[in-house]
Structure formats: structure tokens, C-alpha cells
Symmetry: C2
Subunit: 286 residues, 2 copies
Amino acid sequence: MALEQVSSTKTFGGFQKVFKHKSSELQCDMNFAVYVPPQAEKGKVPVLYWLSGLTCTEQNFITKAGAQRTASELGVLLVAPDTSPRACGIEGEDDSYDFGTGAGFYIDATEDKWKTNYRMYSYITKELPSLIQSNFPILPDKQSVFGHSMGGHGALICFLKNPGFYKSVSAFAPICNPMQGQWGQKAFTGYIGSNKEAWKEYDATELVKKYQGPPPDILIDQGLGDEFYPSQLLPENFVEACRSQKVPVTLRLQEGYNHSYYFIASFMEDHIRHHARYLNALKQQD
Amino acid sequence: MALEQVSSTKTFGGFQKVFKHKSSELQCDMNFAVYVPPQAEKGKVPVLYWLSGLTCTEQNFITKAGAQRTASELGVLLVAPDTSPRACGIEGEDDSYDFGTGAGFYIDATEDKWKTNYRMYSYITKELPSLIQSNFPILPDKQSVFGHSMGGHGALICFLKNPGFYKSVSAFAPICNPMQGQWGQKAFTGYIGSNKEAWKEYDATELVKKYQGPPPDILIDQGLGDEFYPSQLLPENFVEACRSQKVPVTLRLQEGYNHSYYFIASFMEDHIRHHARYLNALKQQD
């Protein structure tokens, strides 16, 4: 469980760090990024997990999203893990952009070929939070999660499958109903096989239909110029399921925005402020 | 002079665009980036040129600096050119990170091998402003310039050599006295030969000693954790020369910051607001 610090760079008064560790869940070396805000020098702070989309590493979010500015202002520690195990030596792991390396889909594989390494769900919800709690000055009962595309799917399912563990969830252009889109179908078939009952355990639209936990408002931004909307993302399916369960959700359709970090950066401050309300980090707005 | 639009991506209510054109000064195809703020849909706006450092293209600034947010708020059009001619077929052009491709140094070469293409000073101060004025809704008498490292040097010399052409100048970790540092000496020797009198025409510390133009406050941020400070950058030499000429300058030494875009992003808003004051863009602060 030892962490090796890969880099530490001052930004917005805090430090953007990258660490490397041997993951017991994933049986490989993994990088993750942590933004430590200046407030963490004086006391414990809330933590907000970011889950990235297909093809990303821990670098995309920390270089392009512009999140550190608002995290520094509000005193929120940001954690951005990688999106899959790496270099596991599994035949075919590097063949596709949407399966294998860079495409762990935040689920625990059950198919023989992938089940030893591809356990991103357990990594994100158990191993990584434990590592963060042991190594950083965080408030363990003040954590939230958000993400983009495949990582938006990850954020929604991690939140819905662990009522109360995360205080809030939001997403940018999330894959909301992966059973009904090509990316999700390919990933679910490959990692967990053809049994669609098993797929439902990792599909936000299916999970919310039986959600019984605390209902904070779920915030989703979706660009209307996004080439993957609606076919791969299907946010309206999720919203309909939320409404049938009386789970509060806000879907904002943003005219002209595409699927890129230029879209994410534009609404990053809104999302961090949304989480800060549930994490009690926003003293100036309370 | 025709522009080909390479990309246009909505961000912060405006559009981050990249264009390609055949440069007459540089005798090659060049890319440059333009952030068009939302205010440009309704009228003419001021323009702020960003000059990047060694190894950069037009992409580094637009993906990492977080500048679009403040430019959108204040209604400033941002222009970020590439840092050198590309693919000119000159023997050795790709051999070094600090000379040739990605290292045009914002000067006009006089050495035979480079003089046909390496005319970045004329490109930045003549061809590009003319292109921008012809193709975008800008106020031609409201333009300013800033940059980083080699681009900070570029911003300072373009400002000092053209009194009144730019309303203001600022820089992040600029090469302030290139005649006295290895990067500058290598570039000047290679592009303009061994005559040090000719070097003085592209050295900010030498140029400010004879500057007679309007004196807006020059803003410089320098990280104290920067591996190139002071040896390559020498901002104190520039400040001393400014003071001897009564040219107002503010040098802020920033504890712990390095030479990266994490440093630049941290103080980007300050710099854009600094320029906005001289560009009359800051109505809410006037």
C-alpha cells in the first residue's frame, strides 16, 4: 500500500500531485492524481473523486479541466484515478479504444480473461478511498464523486450502489444507460458476459429504479453538439427512471457544446460548487 | 491570405478556433488559435496576443492555461500563434528543442540558412495582426501582448520595439536578457550571427534602456521554484534597466511555483485583468 510520489507541482496555492502504487485489486501498477488544496495544510478537507472517460489517463483531467482553481477556493481535495489497469499482458488489451486499456468501465469483470485485473469498480469504491484516507488529510465522511462520459457512468453507478458513501454525484455527458448503447454493450459483454441480469448491476438507469438511499439532487450537463448524444449516452432514459423513483435530478442541455474538455472546463466550477454544498465546503454560500 | 478553419469548439460561451494559412513571411503553412468571446457576436472587441515558449505549438496555451474563462467574462479575443515555422526542410531544423522547430524566438533571422523562413518577429508584429484585423471583429487600436518564457521574451520585445502598437504587456517567467543566457545566445548566434550589436535589437533589457513610448505598468510573474530561474531568465536585469529608465514594472516572485502551465494557469486571470484595464475591457472595474 506504499505510495510513490511521481510529481508535485504548485498550482493555485496548493499542489497537483501524481502517485504510483501497486494495486491489490488490479494486480498492476497504477497512477492516480491528487490536488491538495491550501486548506489541507491546516486541517482536514472534503474529497471529490473524478472519473475520466475512454482513452484517458490521470493526466487529462488535471491538465485540461481547470478544476484546481475552484477546488483551491473552496478547500476540496480532488482525486483523479486512471481509467483501467495497464500493461497486464492480456491478449488483445490494447486492440480497441473502447475496451481494455483506457476503458475499464468502472466494473468488476467476471469473464476469465479479464477478471484478475479488470476490477475498477472495487478499486474506485474500496482500495482507492482507503489509500486516500490513509495518506491525505481528508474528512472520511465527506466524499463525493463526478466524472465524464464513461467516467460519468462510473460516478453514477458508484453513487447508486453505495447509498450514503458519497454525499453527492454529478456528471458531464455520462453514459447513462450502457445496456442500450454500443460502448456499454461491448464492455459488458467482454467483461461480464452475456447475462443481461448481471449487466443491470452496472447500469445507472437500471440501478436508480431500485435506489433507496438519501436523495441529493443529481446534476448532469450534456452538450447538444456532442457527437455521442443521444445514442451512446441516453441521459433522458436516466432522467425518466429518476422521476419514476422521485430521485431529484437536473439535466442541463447545453447548446453547441461537444464531448471535449472544452465543454467540461466551461461548467467545472458549477459542478464543484454543487458538490461543495453537500460537503459543507462552501462556507461563504451557506 | 485565405484562412482554413481547422476546428471550432464551444467553450465558456464563445468559440475556441484553430486556423491554418500559408504565411508569406514564413514561407510555410502555419496554425494559429483564436478564442472568440461571446461579446464578439454583438460588436468589436479588444485582442490579446499570447506568445508561447520553447517546444510549444498553438495547442499548449488553449488546452492548459485556462484563459478562456476570463476572456469570456471580459470580452477579450485571444490569439495564440505557433512558435516557429514548421517543416521547412532546413537541414538540422528538428535537431534541438531550443533551436529551429518550436524555437523561432520571435526574431527575424539574417543568417542565410534561416533567413527565408525564420521571420517570427515580422510574422507576429505584421502579418498576423493584419490577418486578425481582416478576419475577426476586433478593435484595431486595442491590442496587447503577453507570453511565457521564450514567448515572454517575444512579448516584451514586440511591445518595446513598437511603441503604442500594443496597449500593455505582461509575461510569465520571460527570458528577459537573452544575450546573457544560454538559450538566447544559442538562438541569436544561429539566427543572426555573432554581431552582438545586432543581438541588442532583440534583447528586452537592452531595448528598454532606449524605450521612449507610453509607459503602462509591465507585469511579470516569476516562480521561485522555476528550474530556469535565474540563469536563463534574468528578470532582475530587466527590472533594473526599467527602473533606470523610469519605466514602471512589477515583478512578482511567486514562492514554490515552477516553469509549467500549472504556474501560468494560477495567475492567468490576474494577467488578463491587467490587460483589460489598458484595453478598456473591464467595465465592471473602471
